[in-house]
Symmetry: C2
Subunit: 157 residues, 2 copies
DNA sequence: ACCATGTCGTTGACGTGTAAACAACTGTGA
DNA sequence: TCACAGTTGTTTACACGTCAACGACATGGT
C-alpha cells in the first residue's frame, strides 16, 4: 500500500466538478451541434482540422497525430464521411502506401454553415458564463496539464 | 445567419485547452486505473456510487439518475460487472419490476484496493500540478457551468 | 374491479471505438 | 542490389453505447 494521501474538500470539489462538467457540457454541445448541422462532434473535429490545413488536405497519419486519434479510428471515420460526401480520399504521390484526405466542396460548405451555431453553443454553455479571469484561469490550467502530459509535442490547433 | 460573434484569443485558448486536456487527462487517468486495478473508468464509477450508498445497494434507476447514465447503459454494464462478480442483482421488495444492484464482497475489496492508486493518479496528473487558487478556480468554474446546465437537480456525489 | 397511462428494467438492431493482424510499400545498411 | 525492419492504411473481431420497442408491473381515476 503506497501513501493514501486523500483529496481534501477543495480538491475533491475540483475533481468531481471537472468530471460532471465534462459529462454535461460535452453532451449539451454535441447535441446542439448535431441538431443544428447534422454533424457529430468527431465529424466537426475532422472537418475543422482539414479546413485549417494547406490545400484543405492532409495525410491520414498526420491528421491522426494532430487530432490524437488512432489511425484505425480515423480510417473508419473517414470512410463514413466519404460516403456522405464530406471528404474524399486521394492517393499520395510520394508514398504509394499513403492516402491523402481532402475536404470536398460540400464538406467546406457544411462546416462553414455549422461553425457560427457551434461557437454560439460553446459561448452559451461555457464561455459567456465565465469572467475574463476565469477564462484565463481555465486556459492556464489546461496548458499546465498538457505540458505535463505531453511535454515535447506541439499540441496546438 | 445569426450573430457570428467569434471567440477571441483567450476564449479560444480556454476552449481548445479544455478539449485537449479532457482528451489527454482522461486517457491517462483511465489507463493508470486499468493497468493498476483491472477496472475501467465506468467500472470505478459504478463501484464508487454503490460504496457510498446505504447498504451498498441501490435501485437501478436511482443509480442511473445519480450517475447521469441511461438505464440501458447501466443495465448492460451491470450485466458485465455481475459476470465478473463485482456486483449482484436482487429483486426489489416493494416493486416487482425493480431490480436492486448490490456491491459484492469482491467488489468492495476491488475498489478499496484500487482507490489509493487512483487518487494518486489524479493527484499526479492534475491536482498536484495546480496551486490552491487554481484548484478553487476549477471548482468554481465547474459549479458555474453545472448550475447553468442542470439548475434544479442536486448533482452532488 | 377495471382500464388507461406511465414506469421499470431488459433486449435487439445498429453505430462506433479499440486491439491486433495484415498486405503493401519504404528506406537503410551490408 | 538486396534482404529486412519499420511504416502506412485497412480490416477483422470484439467491446461498448444509443435508440426504440418490449413485457411486466404500478398507479390513479372512474
Amino acid at each position: 500500500m503506497p501513501e493514501p494521501r486523500w483529496l481534501d474538500d477543495d480538491e475533491f470539489r475540483a475533481w468531481i466538478g471537472y468530471r460532471r462538467m465534462r459529462l454535461l457540457l460535452d453532451a449539451q454541445v454535441n447535441q446542439d451541434l448535431t441538431r443544428e448541422s447534422g454533424l457529430s462532434a468527431p465529424d466537426y473535429d475532422v472537418l475543422s482540422a482539414l479546413t485549417s490545413s494547406e490545400g484543405h488536405r492532409r495525410r491520414l497519419t498526420e491528421l491522426a497525430d494532430r487530432m490524437l486519434w488512432s489511425k484505425s479510428r480515423l480510417s473508419r471515420h473517414i470512410g463514413r464521411m466519404e460516403q456522405r460526401g464530406l471528404v474524399a480520399r486521394e492517393g499520395c504521390e510520394t508514398d504509394a502506401r499513403g492516402s491523402v484526405i481532402v475536404l470536398t466542396e460540400q464538406g467546406l460548405r457544411t462546416i462553414r454553415e455549422a461553425a457560427p451555431g457551434h461557437v454560439a453553443s460553446v459561448r452559451r454553455h461555457l464561455i459567456d458564463l465565465l469572467s475574463p479571469e476565469q477564462i484565463d484561469a481555465l486556459g492556464t490550467i489546461a496548458e499546465t496539464v498538457l505540458a505535463h502530459l505531453a511535454p515535447d509535442e506541439d499540441l496546438r490547433r
